[in-house]
Structure formats: C-alpha cells, structure tokens
C-alpha cells in the first residue's frame, strides 16, 4: 500500500544531510513551509544550499534557518523584503553566498530540473550584469543566454490539501514555486493543512500529481510568518 504520510516534521526531515541542496517553496510568507523549516533547524544540519525566491523575514522560518548558520549559499531572485534583516547582515559581512537569478529564470531552471532538461536558452537578463560569464547564442536574430537546470536533494513545500498518494492542491497565490519544486527534488516533503482520503480530490483539479511527492505531514494550523514577525518571535523559540 502506498502511504506517504509521515507522523511529524521531525520524522519527515530525518535524513536531510549536511551539504544538501534544499528547494523551499513560498513567495514571501505565502506558501512558506515554516514548520518543516523549523524541523530542519532542530536537526541542525549545516552547509545547506537553499533555493527559494526570498530569504525570509524576521527571525522565524527561512530567516531563522539562515540566522542559525546552517546555510552556506542561497539561490534566489529577491533576497530582501520589508522585514528581512538576517540575510542582508550576513551578506554584507561576506558570511553567506548569493546566486542572484531572475525570478522567471529561477522558475524555469527548477522546472527543467524536474523535467529532465539539463539546459535551455532564455532572453531574460541579456545585456545585464547577470549575463556575465554566461554563454550567449543567437536564435532568429535575437540574443539568448544558456541557463542550466536546478535540482534539489530535498524540497520542502506547503500545500492546502493532500492525500496518501501525495496528490496536492494549493491555496491561491501560495501555489507559486510549490508545484515545480515538487518535481525537481529527489525527496519532496510536503506539509498539508488537510489530509483527505484518496479519491476526494477530483482528478481534474490535482495540481501536483502524487508521483512528484515522497512525504506528507499534516500541519492543520500552520503558523503565519507575518504574525510571528509582528510579535518579534525567534526560532528556536525565545
């Protein structure tokens, strides 16, 4: 029998290792799997490469993982938001690496990672500093850059509803990077607000087919990053 449901975040992230590349869903707080990230903080693995659109806010979730010195490198499109303090400080001191990638290129590199496509050409960033060192090529008289795919050892993803096969649906704009990250990791770990019986999600509306998901953890009341930030909470809990 297929049963991808794990009992706790700790159990679901138990085999994450030092030096792993982890894809983390979310655009700002929408879709950010805080509980899974906190489990990685508890585990204490180091030298992680994190692929995520942002670098977290305040001192919880992704920001806390970075603050806890577990992250060697971040691959992202927008490493600062209104309440980002952790990453900018480490970065300005040269204590963390940054690979800055345009948002659409980041998305496509991840999608290609999941789709078995090692590289593709894109018009984005041609003629900018982010094109430096990249291979250029003309198609139909227009210049493009060669971009290589991104794969993760693990993906941490937040969704709305899951079943034991790993079929997922998301909530509104919390979908963002989740579906493509699920495809691009060796082990995809998902936190779901609801776990439903197989067959309850209409086959026409499944967003992430179960084949892309290895583990599901029920988190019925996920924390809201903005609330924690407003309360100046820190993880590990202050």
């Amino acid at each position: 029998m297929i049963n991808k449901i794990y009992n706790s975040p700790a159990e679901a992230v138990a085999d994450i290792f030092d030096g792993a590349t982890i894809l983390i869903s979310g655009f700002g707080e929408a879709g950010s799997p805080i509980e899974l990230i906190h489990a990685v903080i508890d585990k204490g693995v180091k030298n992680l490469t994190i692929v995520s659109n942002n670098t977290g806010s305040g001192h919880v979730g992704l920001a806390a993982l970075i603050e806890n010195k577990q992250v060697k490198k971040v691959i992202c499109s927008f490493p600062k938001t209104a309440n980002s303090v952790v990453f900018p400080e480490l970065y300005s001191k040269g204590n963390i690496e940054l690979e800055l990638v345009p948002q659409g290129t980041l998305a496509e590199r991840i999608r290609c990672g999941g789709a078995g496509i090692p590289a593709f050409y894109t018009p984005t960033a041609v003629g900018t500093v982010l094109a430096e060192g990249k291979e250029k090529r003309i198609f139909d008289g227009k210049e493009y850059l060669l971009e290589q795919s991104i794969k993760g050892d693990f993906a941490l993803v937040k969704c709305l509803k899951a079943d034991r096969y790993g079929n997922l649906v998301y909530n509104k704009t919390a979908r963002n990077f989740g579906p493509i990250m699920c495809t691009a990791a060796k082990t995809t770990i998902v936190q779901a607000k609801h776990i439903v019986d197989v067959g309850e999600i209409d086959p026409e509306v499944v967003v992430t087919p179960g084949i892309f998901v290895q583990r599901v953890v029920l988190i019925p009341n996920p924390m809201e990053e903005s609330v924690l930030v407003a309360e100046n909470r820190r993880y590990p809990w202050n």
Binding site: A30, L98, Q103, A107, T124, N171, T173
Partner: protein
C-alpha cells in the same frame, strides 16, 4: 537646481497611462508608483491584471478583515481575485511573461536611456543586497514596457539619460516614458516627446534631461 515648475501630479500621470491601455489588455504593474495605474482604468474598459506570483485577474486590496496572507501580489501585499481570475504556478506565470502574452508592463525606474535601456533594480552599491525579482523577465518578455517616474531624482538629477550609469534591467526595452513633466516615446532608439505638462516647454525639458530629445511632429 531649484525648479520653478511642478508638472503633472503622479496620479495624473498614472491616469494618462491608464487611458493609453486599450480595453481587454493583460497588464502587469510594478511595485510602488506603477500600482496607481489600476485606480484610473476608464469606465467600460476591462483590463486584466497579472501578478507574477501566480494570479491573473488581480483585484483591489481587500477589507482588512478579509485579507488572506496567501492571496498577495508581487509586492507581497494582500489583494483580491476578480470573477474570472485564475491561479497558477511560477513556471506558468513566467510563460505568460517570457512568452510575450502580457500586453503592457508599467515599471518604475532609476534611469532610462534615450535608446530605451532601463535601470530599475540596483544602484550597484557594493554593500547593498542585490535583488532583481521578476524585473528582467518582464522587460525581456512583455510586449509594451511603459515607465512611470518622476522626471528628476529627489536630488534633482535627470533620470532620462544618454546612457544609464546604474546596472541595467534590460537593453532597448522601454517603449514609452511617462514623467511628471512629459510623455516620451522611444522609436528606433530615438527619444520623441509626444506631450508636455502645461507649465513645461521643450527648452526647459531639454535642460532637465540628459538625453537627445526630439519633438514628435
């Protein structure tokens, strides 16, 4: 330099842009001043707003008690979804952008060059954290790039320049520039002034613009 003119209010500039966007267009608005454009869509026009974090059919901000932190725009502010909206993941969202499906994008600017180069993502200061987001994708893919900006920086320096000194977002990408002083169009790498604010004349405009300006006749 002390200015003796005011030009247009930026709300009025936003209104000008809104009136230049045809019925039925798909539009992406940058964060900040560009968001003003959504307030001025002429009655009777249906414009569909795209936000790159996965929503087509973005509506106005919700009542605070109805805000959903998982229904946000690219600026990470709570928004609503109109009837007929749809949600999708980031690769599909940038298929819309990179694939040339979005008709108009309105962006802010640090600098725009007379050939349509745009600099709006980084001041290039060595200690600042660079953050690009979707800006480079938008200028590379959207059919029409409109810039809305004050004509001068807060210090009074020209933002419309011969050549950008800040790091570029894209080369030869801007189609039209809307400032508080004038509306300019870039055609074949030349900058044509199509309209000026009532208290602005061409000579004055040239004096506050570090670029070759042509009057569109």
């Amino acid at each position: 330099m002390e200015l003796k003119v005011n030009g247009w209010d930026m709300n009025f500039v936003a209104q000008k842009i809104a009136s230049d966007i045809p019925d039925g267009s798909y539009v992406n608005l940058g964060i900040g001043i560009p968001e003003l454009v959504a307030n001025y869509i002429p009655e009777g026009r249906e414009i569909i707003f795209h936000t790159e974090n996965g929503l087509l059919g973005m509506g106005p901000a919700p009542d605070p008690d109805k805000a959903d932190p998982e229904l946000i725009n690219a600026g990470k502010k709570c928004v609503t979804a109109i009837a007929g909206a749809c949600f999708f993941h980031h690769a599909d969202s940038f298929t819309m952008i990179r694939g040339g499906h979005i008709d108009y994008c309105v962006l802010g600017a640090f600098q725009v060059s007379q050939e349509g180069d745009l600099a709006n993502w980084s001041t290039g200061e060595p200690n600042s954290v660079p953050a690009v987001g979707g800006a480079m994708d938008l200028v590379a893919g959207v059919k029409n790039i409109f810039v809305i900006t004050t004509h001068l920086t807060k210090k009074g320096e020209p933002k419309i320049v011969k050549q950008c000194t800040y790091p570029l977002t894209g080369k030869n990408v801007v189609n039209k520039i809307y400032t508080n002083f004038a509306v300019m169009e870039i055609i074949d790498k030349k900058l044509f002034v199509t309209e000026m604010a009532p208290d602005i004349d061409f000579e004055f405009l040239k004096s506050v613009t570090d670029a070759d300006l042509y009057l569109k006749t």
